[in-house]
Amino acid sequence: MSRFADPQPPTVCLTDFWTRKEEYQHIIWLLHHLRSTDRWVFAKQASNQMYPIHVVLTQKCTTDKVGLVAARALMHLLLEAHPEAARVRVNDKLALHMATENGWPCHDLLLAIYPEALNCVDPHTKMFPFQAAARCAANSLSPISLDVTYELLRSNPTNFIGLGG
């Protein structure tokens, strides 16, 4: 696992459960209604090719277990509004690469839209998605990364076999 070790310290997310709850409900409530009235804005691409989902996935996700539920709900909303974003490469990275690297709990949602991403190597790190998830787990960045690593590996074990060969 030393290959995946990262010198960066684990991310500590500060949470204030009761005071933040309503705030984030409100943000997602607004996004939900924006999707129902103006769905097209979710398909807008910035000049750096980023869709809204990439704006989120380039950030480190929380390690808070309850917060992960909300994070997944956000991903669900963004992907439902514009599924094509899962197929787009931003700086050569797919959304799956970003999600596994930053600990976002949405690999299954992304693979449901674009299963080929499972076998795509991140050209920057030269890693398969399961390897990026393993590195994330090794750095304790996310409590779900180990599960994600196994699930990705089990989906296509030949990637690992290829590494060994």
């Binding site: 459960f17 409900q25 997602i28 409530w29 009235t37 691409q45 704006v55 950030q59 539920v69 956000l74």
Partner: protein, 273 residues
């Protein structure tokens, strides 16, 4: 608006004194206002236009130049401009704006009554209704409020139910930079942050169509100001705002702090009120 109204009542006596002062010392101006501005009760548009045509704005401006702001240590009886609410100035400014005053007259009036635009959406509304496509007057007014003291959003009141989304758009177009400024009337937040994060909005969470349209207007305009030259990216703007609310990871801690009911909220798709 309750505070403003109460304050206005408190200033009523001062306003009456101001009127007396004007009457005694500026009879000519007072008569001018009486005959040309105040008695107007036009029954229709034609009468209103005819009335406007009779106003000699050059004469009015010359009369205004005779007024000089009184020093701060002047006695209350001598004051015709008040640092709080300025009822005389508010009435005067709204009146001339309703009559379609040209830019130079409005500028002169603001130099005489510098506080008249404080907490005064009525004047802005009059300007939006009567400047007939000329946004220079609106721009002047917005700059006057925004730059007079510490920088603040000059139009927090556009969120009021009484302001339509179309009028809000005109005000924003006149001075878009004001959108990013915080306002003491919005809990120290900018317009967008107030709609996204303020406890008041979150607890109520009732957006009628007018407020929803204004929210989208503010969201789009904020995105344009923060990313000039880019397409309008409302969702990007909203997400970046939420993710950077308190520092990056803590932000996602924000998502991290959300309970499971968040999921049910989304899946149940509560109706838009």
């Amino acid at each position: 608006m309750t505070t403003a109204t109460t304050s206005l009542r408190n200033e009523e006596i001062l306003g009456m004194k101001s009127q007396s002062f004007l009457l005694a010392n500026n009879t000519e101006l007072h008569l001018y206002l009486d005959t040309l501005l105040l008695p107007t009760n036009p029954c229709n548009c034609k009468e209103e236009e005819a009335h406007r045509a009779t106003i000699d704005w050059a004469s009015l401006e010359a009369l205004l130049h005779r007024l000089r702001p009184t020093p701060k240590d002047a006695s209350p009886a001598e004051l015709y401009t008040s640092p709080e609410d300025d009822p005389m100035g508010r009435l005067f400014l709204t009146r001339i704006l309703s009559s379609g005053a040209p830019l130079t007259v409005v500028a002169t009036a603001l130099s005489v009554f510098p506080y008249s635009l404080d907490k005064n959406p009525a004047s802005f509304l009059a300007a939006t209704k009567n400047s007939s496509g000329n946004d220079d007057v609106l721009k002047l007014m917005a700059y006057h409020v925004a730059g007079r003291e510490e920088e603040q959003c000059p139009y927090p009141w556009i969120l009021s139910n009484n302001i339509t989304a179309e009028d809000a758009r005109r005000v924003l177009e006149a001075f878009p930079e004001g959108l990013l400024l915080p306002s003491p009337y919005l809990a120290g937040e900018s317009l967008l942050d107030y709609l996204l994060f303020s406890k008041c909005v979150i607890e109520r969470r009732t957006f009628d169509m007018n407020l929803w349209n204004k929210f989208k207007l503010v969201l789009g305009a904020t995105g344009c100001l923060e990313n000039p030259g880019q397409n309008i990216l409302p969702v990007h703007t909203l997400l970046k705002r939420a993710l950077s609310r308190q520092g990056t990871c803590a932000r996602l801690g924000l998502f991290g702090s959300a309970p499971e009911c968040l999921v049910s909220l989304i899946l149940n798709r509560q109706p838009f009120v």
